[in-house]
């Protein structure tokens, strides 16, 4: 049991527990806060995978921007605890959903464990690959066109959000 394995175990346990808390809290504000904890755990895992740029972007974009947007909307709509948290549809439907999900999880894990390994671990150049310099070199050469198209996507999303959310003047 080396140090890295213990560290990974602690971080992944926190990630799984915060994800479970996220889907079980009746209050959406608590769900958002647990999801932020989960995103920080994932950022730490990205750091252990030598993907520093992705880890920073995870914290800046997800925990910083998207989750603030969620919190803003929840507080704007003044949502409290869910009144119908324990109601809704067939009373066995949630149990069926959880059972099917567990079955799918077992299937995925069996697929991961049983299939023999095909990738070679840690080629020599892997440490420099995930830095800002390494990502930037690839992003602005091979992936320049998709990068520019992303700006069009964000512009379209911005215009669409304004059209959807503004008050109707009529």
């Amino acid at each position: 049991m080396n140090f890295e394995l213990i560290f990974f175990s602690i971080v992944s346990a926190v990630a799984v527990i915060s994800a479970i808390m996220m889907i079980t809290r009746p209050n959406p504000v608590m769900s958002v806060l647990y999801l932020i904890v989960n995103f920080f755990c994932l950022a730490v895992l990205y750091l252990t995978l030598h993907a520093q740029f992705i880890a920073i972007i995870q914290i800046l974009v997800y925990a910083g921007a998207i989750m603030v947007l969620f919190l803003f909307v929840i507080m704007l709509l003044n949502l409290g605890e869910e009144k119908h948290y324990h109601e809704g549809g067939n009373r066995y439907s949630k149990l069926v959903a959880i059972g099917l999900s567990a079955l799918a999880l077992l299937e995925i894990i069996a697929g991961i464990v049983l299939v023999p390994k095909s990738v070679q671990p840690y080629p020599p150049a892997v440490i420099e690959m995930g830095t800002v310099e390494g990502i930037g070199k690839v992003l602005f050469t091979s992936y320049l066109f998709p990068f520019e198209i992303t700006s069009m996507l964000l512009l379209a999303a911005m215009v669409g959000v304004i059209v959807l959310a503004k008050k109707k003047f009529d």
Partner: protein
């Protein structure tokens, strides 16, 4: 360099997080919590992509994660705008009462 943690552990963690997200989508009735579960599923797939990218020494996976994050930001903004528009019309985000498109 000896790999400190085997890649299967990362993949299994990613699968567990994805299934938790699926369970959240299936069991919760609050539209905003369903959106957050979708974000959780996107993140678990990102973890898989970064794992393979890092273990194979190929930066393409991390590029894909970058674009997934950009699309997720746009998707969250548009989805929350739809939630606001729905709330303005029906005064609720409980999806059992938002059934105007249901046949």
């Amino acid at each position: 360099m000896i790999p400190p943690v085997p890649e299967e552990y990362y993949l299994i963690l990613s699968a567990v997080l994805f299934i938790i997200g699926v369970t959240g989508v299936l069991t919760r009735r609050n539209a905003i919590v369903i959106f957050m579960s979708v974000e959780l599923m996107l993140n678990s797939v990102n973890l898989t992509l970064v794992t393979f990218s890092s273990f194979m020494g190929d930066p393409t996976g991390q590029m894909l994660v970058f674009f997934v994050m950009a699309v997720a930001a746009a998707e969250a903004a548009v989805g929350l705008a739809i939630v606001i528009a729905l709330f303005r019309n029906k005064q609720t985000v409980h999806i059992n009462e938002i059934n105007i498109m249901k046949w």
